[in-house]
C-alpha cells in the first residue's frame, strides 16, 4: 500500500496542474513532518524545483534540503535553477536561492557555494547580504578548509553598516573564527552604536561576543579595589628595605596608584547596552546582565538585579535558567539582590526544581541582619508536603548556621526538633546536617549526641545511620556509656547494613578499641572478623588495615603507637558551600555555566589584561569625516628643576590667564613669540573665556550622564545631525528614534569648492562650540580642548584652522608638549605644530595657539604627538559644517555653481548669497 500511495503522489507531481502538484507537495511535507521516509520521491519532486507556483517551489525547497544529503547525484540537477535564482531581480528570490543552495549539504558544490556567498556578500539588498552571512557557517561546517576564504567574507560583512546584517555576521564570526578578535577592532564602535536597532537575536550574539572582546582589550574596572587591598602590604615591605637608599618605592607606588580611567570604548559598551535591560526578550536581558556582571565597575552592576528579578515572572523554563545565574551572581555580589529578597520567597505551587533554586539564592543572601526573617520563612518550608524540598531546606539551614555564628544554636535546636519528625527523610537529612554542625563545637552538645544515638534503633536511611555512627565514634568520650552499647547493637545487625554504614561501624569499633578497649575489645574483634569476609572488597580492605593499625602484634611496626593520634586527631569542621561557588569562571548565561561543564564550542572568557592594548586600533577611518588624530606628549620635570621653573611659570600663568580665549584671524601662526604678540593685539576682542572647570564638567556629563543609556559619542552625534540637515530624505523613523544612528551611505562632499572669484566672508555668528580633546582625568591633569574659530587660515586657503587650548590642572608642571606621529591619510596635510617648551603649573588655563590646521580635504586625518614621559592618543573629527567656508557670491554665480554635483553643499551655504 505504501508504494501505491507514493505512485499516486508521483502522478500528481508529474501533472500539469499546479493545484495537484501543491496538494502532492503538501502531503509529502506532512510526511516529512511526521518523520516518515519520503526519500523515494526525490526524482519526482526535484523536477518541480523550477515550478512557477511559489508555494510549490517553497515546499520543494523544504524537501530538497531534507533529502539532498542522501541523494547527492540527483540533488545536483537542481543546482542550475538556484544559480539562475541568484541572479533574479527580486531580492526575496535571490535570498531564498542562496538559502537553499547553501543548505544542500553536498560537498561537490562547495566551490559554487563559495562563489555564491561571495557575490551575495556584495549584493545591493541587505537582506541578501544577511542571507550570505547565514550561509557562511553552513559552508564552514561542510568544508572547514574554506575557512580562510570565509574569513575574508566575514571581514567584509562585518564592515556592513546595516542593522540587518550585524547580528547574522557576528553569529558567523562566532562559529567560524571566534579567535580572530582583531577583526572586531574596527567594527567595535559601530557594533556598539547599532546594537539598539539590531533585531533581538542578533543583540544576544553581539553582546556575548563583545563581552569577550572587552575582556581582552580593556582593563578591569575593579582593579583599584584589589590594589587597595594589596597595597598596604607592599608598601610596608617596600619601605623597609629601600627607605634609606632613595625614594624609588615612592615612585613605584605612585605608578601603582595611578587612578584608573575607563577607556571611553569600554564606557560606550556599558552605556549602549544598558537600555536593553528593558528588552521584552529574556535572552537579551540576560545577555546584558552577564555583560554588566563581567565588565562593569562594582558600583554599577546593581542595575541588572531589577531586570533579572523581573524575568522571574516569566515562564518556568526562563525562571529556571535565570535563577541558576542569580545563584552564581548572588555569591559574588550579594548586596545587589538583597533588596529583592522577598521576590525569592517560595510558593507551595512552585515546581520543586524552582523551589530548590530559590532556596539556594535565599541562603546566599542570608546575612546577620536578614537571617531571622529568612529562618522564619524556612520554618514554613519545613512543613511542606514536598519532601525533596524539605530536605533541601534542612541543608540550607545548615549552611546558614555555619556561615552566621549568631544563629548557630537556634538552627541546631530547630534541627534537633526535626529529629522527632514523622518523615524519615526529614530526620535523616537533619542528622546529616547536625553532624556537620556538631563538628564545630562538639563539647557542648553531648545531649544531642545521646539523642541521636537512640535514633539508630529506628532510622533506616544509610547516610543518616553512617553519620550517627561517625559522630558517636568521634565523640565517644562525651558519651562513654552509650558508645559501646551502640557498637554492640550494630555488630548484631552488621551483615544486613549498607556499605557506608559498615565502614562507619568499623570506624566506630576502632575508635572505641583505642579509648575503651576493656569494654569493646571483643566486640571490635567480632566486627573485624565479620568485615574480613564481607563481599565488598573495600570493607575487607578497611578491616585488614585497621586491624594492623590498632591491634599491636609483633609484626606491626611503629605505626601502632600512633594509632590513637591517627584516629582521634582533631578534624576540621566541614565548610558548607554553595554548589554555585566559583561557577562564574564560565561566562554567565551560557550553556556551560548552566551545566557547570564546558560545552562543545564554548569560548573561554579571558582574564583582564594587565596592560591595556593600544586603544587606537578601534579608531575608524570614516571616509566622510576628516579626523585629526595625534597623540600629545609631555614630560614631567626633574625634581631639581622644580624650584627654578616655579617662578617662571607663575608669571606665564598670569599672562596667559588674561589672554585665555582671545583668538584672532592669524591664529594659524606657529612660532611662539609671534603668537604671544598676536595675543596681545587681539586681547579684549572677545571676552576672556574660562575654559577648564566648566567645560570639563560638561564633558563629564556627556560621557557619564544619566541619560547615558542612549547617546553615542558626541562626535558621531554631531555629525549625524549635520548630515541630517544636509539630506532631507534622511529622516527615517529610526533616526528620529535614536538620533545617533548613521544609516546613510557615506556621502562625499567635494573638497574646497570655492570658485576663484568667490570672496571669503568673515564669520558672522559667534557661538563657538568647544570640544574636549583630552579630559583632565585621562590626561593625568592635562586637559585639552579645541574649537573651530571659523576664520580663514592665511598661509593656505585650503586649510581650516583649529584652535587648541591646553590647560594644566595639576600642581606639577608640564613641559615639552608636542604633537607627534600625525597619522595623515593621503590628501591630508597639517601645518607644523611646534613644541611647546614652556612649563605649566597650577590650575590656570594655558592657552596655546598651535594652529593645527588642516586642509579642507574631506579625507581622514591622523596626527599624533609624543614625548618621553607621557603620550596620549587623541583625534579630532570635525563636524561637516566646520569644514565649509562662508562665501559671498552673486545670485548668478551661485546658480552657475549649482551643478548637481554640488547641490547639497549649496544647501548649506545658500543662506549667504
Amino acid at each position: 500500500p505504501v508504494t501505491c500511495r507514493h505512485d499516486d503522489l508521483k502522478e500528481m507531481l508529474d501533472s500539469n496542474k499546479d493545484s495537484l502538484k501543491l496538494e502532492a507537495m503538501k502531503r509529502i511535507v506532512a510526511m516529512i513532518a511526521r518523520g516518515k521516509n519520503a526519500s523515494d520521491l526525490f526524482p519526482a519532486v526535484v523536477k518541480n524545483v523550477a515550478c512557477k507556483n511559489i508555494e510549490v517551489k517553497k515546499l520543494v525547497y523544504v524537501y530538497l534540503v531534507r533529502y539532498a544529503e542522501e541523494q547527492q547525484d540527483l540533488a545536483l540537477l537542481s543546482i542550475s535553477t538556484f544559480q539562475r535564482g541568484l541572479k533574479d531581480p527580486n531580492q526575496l528570490i535571490r535570498a531564498s536561492a542562496l538559502r537553499v543552495l547553501s543548505s544542500i549539504r553536498v560537498p561537490i558544490i562547495v566551490p559554487i557555494m563559495m562563489l555564491a556567498i561571495k557575490e551575495a556578500a556584495s549584493d545591493m539588498s541587505p537582506y541578501v547580504r544577511k542571507t550570505a552571512a547565514h550561509a557562511i557557517p553552513k559552508l564552514y561546517s561542510l568544508d572547514s578548509d574554506q575557512k580562510d576564504q570565509l574569513i575574508e567574507v566575514i571581514e567584509k560583512l562585518l564592515a556592513d553598516k546595516t542593522t540587518l546584517v550585524a547580528g547574522s555576521v557576528v553569529m558567523a564570526f562566532e562559529e567560524v573564527c571566534p579567535e580572530r578578535i582583531d577583526l572586531i577592532h574596527k567594527n567595535y564602535r559601530k557594533l556598539c552604536n547599532l546594537l539598539i536597532d539590531v533585531e533581538e537575536w542578533g543583540q544576544v550574539v553581539i553582546i556575548n561576543m563583545l563581552t569577550r572582546y572587552a575582556r581582552t582589550q580593556f582593563l578591569s574596572p575593579n582593579q583599584n579595589e584589589s590594589l587597595l587591598e594589596e597595597n598596604p602590604e607592599k608598601a610596608f615591605y617596600g619601605s623597609d628595605e629601600e627607605d634609606s637608599k632613595d625614594d624609588k618605592p615612592d615612585a613605584a607606588s605612585l605608578v601603582k596608584r595611578k587612578p584608573y580611567v575607563m577607556d571611553p570604548d569600554h564606557r560606550l559598551l556599558l552605556r549602549n547596552t544598558k537600555p536593553l535591560l528593558q528588552s521584552r526578550n529574556a535572552a537579551v536581558v540576560m545577555a546584558v546582565a552577564q555583560l554588566y556582571f563581567h565588565l562593569a565597575p562594582k558600583a554599577e552592576v546593581g542595575v541588572i538585579a531589577k531586570a533579572l528579578v523581573r524575568l522571574l515572572r516569566s515562564h518556568r523554563s526562563v525562571q529556571w535558567v535565570v535563577l541558576q545565574n542569580v545563584a552564581t551572581m548572588s555569591i559574588k555580589r550579594r548586596g545587589m539582590f538583597e533588596p529583592y529578597l522577598k521576590s525569592f520567597y517560595i510558593r507551595s505551587t512552585d515546581p520543586t526544581q524552582i523551589k530548590i533554586l530559590k532556596l539556594e539564592v535565599l541562603t546566599n543572601l542570608a546575612n546577620e541582619t536578614n537571617i531571622s526573617t529568612i529562618l522564619r520563612e524556612f520554618q514554613t518550608y519545613i512543613r511542606s508536603m514536598d519532601k525533596d524540598f524539605v530536605a533541601a531546606t534542612i541543608q540550607a539551614i545548615g549552611r546558614c548556621a555555619t556561615n552566621i555564628g549568631k544563629v548557630r544554636d537556634t538552627c541546631l535546636n530547630g534541627l534537633v526538633q526535626l529529629l522527632s519528625n514523622r518523615d524519615e527523610l526529614v530526620v535523616a537529612e537533619s542528622v546529616v546536617v547536625i553532624k556537620k554542625l556538631l563538628q564545630m563545637q562538639p563539647s557542648q552538645h553531648s545531649e544531642i549526641i545521646k539523642h541521636m544515638a537512640k535514633l539508630t534503633d529506628n532510622i533506616q536511611v544509610p547516610m543518616a545511620r553512617a553519620s550517627i555512627l561517625w559522630l558517636i565514634g568521634e565523640y565517644c568520650e562525651h558519651v562513654p556509656k552509650i558508645a559501646p552499647d551502640v557498637l554492640r547493637k550494630m555488630s548484631k545487625s552488621f551483615t544486613g547494613e549498607e556499605d557506608i554504614v559498615k565502614l562507619q561501624v568499623i570506624n566506630l569499633a576502632a575508635k572505641l578499641y583505642l579509648t575503651n578497649s576493656k569494654q569493646s575489645k571483643l566486640l571490635t574483634q567480632y566486627v573485624l572478623n565479620l568485615a574480613k569476609y564481607d563481599q565488598n572488597y573495600d570493607i575487607r580492605d578497611r578491616a585488614r588495615f585497621i586491624r594492623q593499625l590498632i591491634v599491636p602484634t609483633e609484626k606491626s611496626g611503629a605505626l601502632n603507637k600512633y594509632a590513637k593520634k591517627l584516629f582521634l586527631a582533631q578534624k576540621p569542621a566541614p565548610i558548607l558551600e554553595s554548589s554555585f561557588k566559583d561557577r562564574d569562571h564560565f561566562q554567565l548565561g551560557s550553556l556551560s555555566h548552566l551545566l557547570n561543564a564546558k560545552a562543545v564550542g564554548y569560548q573561554e572568557l579571558p582574564d583582564w589584561p594587565d596592560e591595556a592594548p593600544d586603544p587606537s586600533v578601534r579608531n575608524v577611518e570614516v571616509p566622510w569625516l576628516p579626523t585629526l588624530r595625534f597623540s600629545l606628549s609631555l614630560s614631567f620635570p626633574d625634581p631639581e628643576s622644580v624650584s627654578e621653573s616655579e617662578s617662571e611659570s607663575s608669571s606665564s600663568s598670569s599672562e596667559s590667564g588674561s589672554d585665555s580665549g582671545s583668538r584672532g584671524e592669524e591664529s594659524g601662526d606657529q612660532s611662539e613669540e609671534e603668537e604671544e604678540e598676536k595675543k596681545k593685539k587681539k586681547k579684549g576682542k572677545e571676552g576672556p573665556r574660562k575654559v577648564c572647570p566648566e567645560s570639563a564638567g560638561r564633558y563629564h556629563r556627556h560621557w557619564r550622564g544619566e541619560g547615558a543609556g542612549s547617546a553615542t559619542s558626541w562626535e558621531l552625534r554631531n555629525t549625524s545631525r549635520d548630515m541630517g540637515g544636509l539630506h532631507d530624505s534622511f529622516t527615517s523613523p529610526a533616526l528620529e528614534r535614536r538620533d545617533q544612528l548613521i544609516t546613510s551611505q557615506p556621502q562625499h562632499v567635494p573638497t574646497a569648492f570655492l570658485p576663484p572669484s568667490a570672496q571669503m566672508l568673515s564669520p558672522v555668528f559667534s557661538t563657538m562650540k568647544t570640544y574636549e580633546l583630552l579630559h583632565r582625568m585621562a590626561g593625568e591633569g592635562l586637559s585639552v580642548e579645541y574649537y573651530f574659530n571659523r576664520q580663514p587660515f592665511p598661509p593656505d586657503p585650503h586649510m581650516v584652522a583649529v584652535q587648541i587650548q591646553f590647560s594644566n590642572n595639576t600642581e606639577s608642571e608640564v613641559k615639552n608638549l608636542r604633537v607627534s606621529e600625525p597619522k595623515l591619510v593621503s590628501g591630508m596635510r597639517i601645518q607644523e605644530f611646534q613644541e611647546i617648551g614652556k612649563s605649566m603649573v597650577g590650575i590656570d588655563t594655558c592657552p596655546q595657539l598651535p594652529g593645527v590646521n588642516w586642509a579642507g580635504s574631506f579625507s581622514l586625518w591622523h596626527v599624533s604627538s609624543s614625548t618621553h614621559s607621557r603620550q596620549f592618543y587623541v583625534s579630532i573629527q570635525p563636524p561637516v559644517g566646520e569644514l565649509m567656508a562662508p562665501v559671498f557670491m552673486s545670485e548668478n554665480e551661485f546658480k552657475k555653481e549649482q551643478t548637481p554635483h554640488y547641490k547639497h553643499c549649496t544647501v548649506g551655504t545658500g543662506t549667504w548669497t
Binding site: L22, V29, I32, A33, R34, E55, K58, E69, N90, Q91, R99, S103, S125, Y127, H134, A135, T163, L164, I196, D197, E199, W201, P275, R280, N281, A282, A283, V285, M286, K306, A307, R310, R313, H315, R316, S317, V318, Y345, R347, S348, T349, P351, E377, T380, M385, D423, G589, L591, L595, A599, V600, Y602, Q603, G707, G709, P733, A734, L735, R737, T743
Partner: protein, 418 residues
C-alpha cells in the same frame, strides 16, 4: 545553533519534527523521556538536559513539549525564548497552540518553521513579517485559493524586513481607526497564617490592539508615570523619550501586541483586595479533619471583586471532602487531591463560606502541613496601583482615531498560607 525541533505530546508521541541542519534521529528524545520519567510531574522536567552528543533544551506549553536539539554552546535563554516565540506564533496563526491545531495545519507550521530559522539562527520572528510571507489560514482564503489557484505565500520580501520598523507593515488601511489599551495589573502575594502580608507586589502589562491606517506615531502619557519602577518595552518604544519625559512614544505594530510590562515600585504598599478566614485542622489519630474557609472583600475598594476561584492542593492522605458552600460550587479531584471552589462575585453583605469534613485515609499519619489556598479574582475598571493613562496623541496621520483604555486588576500568584 538550534539543530532540530521535536514536538511531543503528553503521552510521549513525537508528532512533528523539523531539522535545520543534518537530520538528528528521533532516538535522541529517549534521553528526554528518561528525564521526564525521573521527574515527578511535567513541571519538574529540567529545561536543559545533557546527552552524550547533544543538549536538549525544552519548554512545555499547552500540553506540548517543544524539545530542541543543540550541538554547541548557546545561551539557553536564547533557545527557550525562541521556542516560546514559536509557540506564540502558532497561537497567533491558529488561535490556539494545540496538538490538533498543529496537526491540522502541518504544512503552514512547516513553512513557518522554515522561515523562522535559517541554519538554526532566527531569521524572521516578527509576526508582521511572517504574515506577509505566509498568510494565516482562514476558511475564506482556502476556498478562494482552491478556486483561483493562488497561494498562501508572499512573493516579495516583506517590507518590514528592510525597514527600521520591522514590526509594522507598510500598507495598512482601516475604515474605522481604533486604538485600544488594556491596563492589566496582577497582584502577587503571600499572606501568612495570621492574615498579614509576607510579600506583595504589583505587576502590570499594557496590551494594545491597534488598528490604525498608515504610519501613525503615537505617544501615550500617564498621570503618574513614577509608579512604574521597572519596565520592559516592545521594541517599537523609543527608549530615550521614556528616559527623559516618561512618555511612551512609538510607531505601533499592526494588531494585538504587548506594549509594556512593568512592576510597580516596591515602596508602594499594596492594597490586598480580599481577606480570608480559615480553619483547616486534622485531628491526631482520627481519620477526619475540619475545613472552614470564608472569603470577603476589604472595605476600601468600592469595586466588586468577581471571578473568585479558590484552589487548594490537599495533602496526599485526604481521601474525600464533604463540604457545603453558601455560594458557588466546589469540586474535589480525589486523584490529584485538588479542591476547586468557584465562587464568582463576592458581595460584602453575605460572605461566601465553604465548610465541612475532610476524610483521611485511615491509619495514615496526620498531615503536617496545612495546605495553602491559591486565590484568583478579578476587579474590573480598576488598576490597583492607581496607574492612570493621561492621554494618547497621534502624529503623522490626519484622521481622528477612536481611543479607549480599559483597566483590570487580577490576582497573580496569590497564595494564603494556613
Amino acid at each position: 545553533m538550534i539543530h532540530s525541533l521535536f514536538l511531543i505530546n503528553c503521552s510521549g508521541d513525537i508528532f512533528l519534527e523539523k531539522h535545520w541542519k543534518s537530520v538528528v534521529s528521533q532516538s535522541v528524545c529517549d534521553y528526554f523521556f528518561e528525564a521526564q520519567e525521573k521527574a515527578a510531574d511535567v513541571e519538574n522536567v529540567p529545561p536543559v538536559i545533557s546527552t552524550p552528543h547533544h543538549y536538549l533544551i525544552s519548554i512545555y506549553r499547552e500540553k506540548i513539549f517543544f524539545v530542541s536539539v543543540i550541538q554547541t554552546e548557546v545561551p539557553p535563554l536564547f533557545v527557550i525564548e525562541f521556542l516560546h516565540r514559536v509557540a506564540d506564533t502558532f497561537q497567533d496563526y491558529f488561535g490556539e497552540c494545540s496538538e490538533t491545531a498543529i496537526k491540522d495545519n502541518v504544512v503552514i507550521v512547516y513553512e513557518l518553521l522554515e522561515e523562522m530559522l535559517d541554519n538554526g539562527f532566527p531569521l524572521a520572528t516578527e509576526s508582521n513579517i511572517l504574515k506577509e510571507l505566509i498568510k494565516p489560514p482562514t476558511i475564506l482564503r482556502s476556498v478562494v485559493n482552491s478556486i483561483t489557484g493562488s497561494s498562501n505565500m508572499g512573493e516579495t520580501l516583506p517590507t518590514g524586513q528592510l525597514s527600521n520598523i520591522p514590526w509594522r507593515k507598510a500598507v495598512v488601511k482601516y475604515t474605522n481607526n481604533e486604538a485600544y489599551f488594556d491596563v492589566i495589573e496582577e497582584i502577587d502575594a503571600i499572606i501568612d497564617k495570621s492574615g498579614s502580608t509576607v510579600f506583595a507586589e504589583i505587576q502590570g502589562v499594557i496590551d494594545s490592539c491597534i488598528k490604525l491606517s498608515g504610519m501613525p506615531d503615537l505617544s501615550l502619557s500617564f498621570m503618574n508615570p513614577r509608579l512604574l519602577d521597572d519596565v520592559s518595552f516592545h521594541p517599537c518604544i523609543r527608549f530615550k523619550r521614556w528616559e527623559s519625559e516618561r512618555v511612551l512614544s512609538f510607531i505601533p505594530p499592526d494588531g494585538n501586541f504587548r506594549l509594556i510590562s512593568y512592576r510597580v515600585s516596591s515602596q508602594n504598599l499594596v492594597a490586598i483586595p480580599v481577606y480570608v478566614k480559615h480553619i483547616i485542622s486534622f485531628k491526631e489519630n482520627s481519620s477526619s479533619g475540619r475545613f472552614d474557609v470564608t472569603i470577603g472583600p476589604k472595605q476600601n475598594m468600592g469595586k466588586t471583586v468577581e471571578g473568585v476561584i479558590v484552589t487548594v492542593h490537599m495533602p496526599k492522605a485526604v481521601l474525600n471532602m464533604n463540604l457545603t458552600s453558601t455560594q458557588g460550587s466546589y469540586t474535589f479531584d480525589p486523584v490529584l487531591k485538588v479542591l476547586t471552589w468557584d465562587i464568582g462575585k463576592i458581595s460584602p453583605q453575605k460572605l461566601p463560606n465553604l465548610k465541612g469534613i475532610v476524610n483521611l485515609q485511615s491509619g495514615a499519619p496526620k498531615p503536617e502541613e496545612n495546605p495553602s489556598l491559591n486565590i484568583q479574582f478579578k476587579i474590573q475598571q480598576l488598576a490597583i496601583s492607581g496607574l492612570k493613562v493621561n492621554r494618547l496623541d497621534m502624529f503623522g496621520e490626519k484622521y481622528k482615531p477612536f481611543k479607549g483604555v480599559k483597566y483590570i486588576t487580577k490576582a497573580g500568584k496569590f497564595q494564603v498560607r494556613t
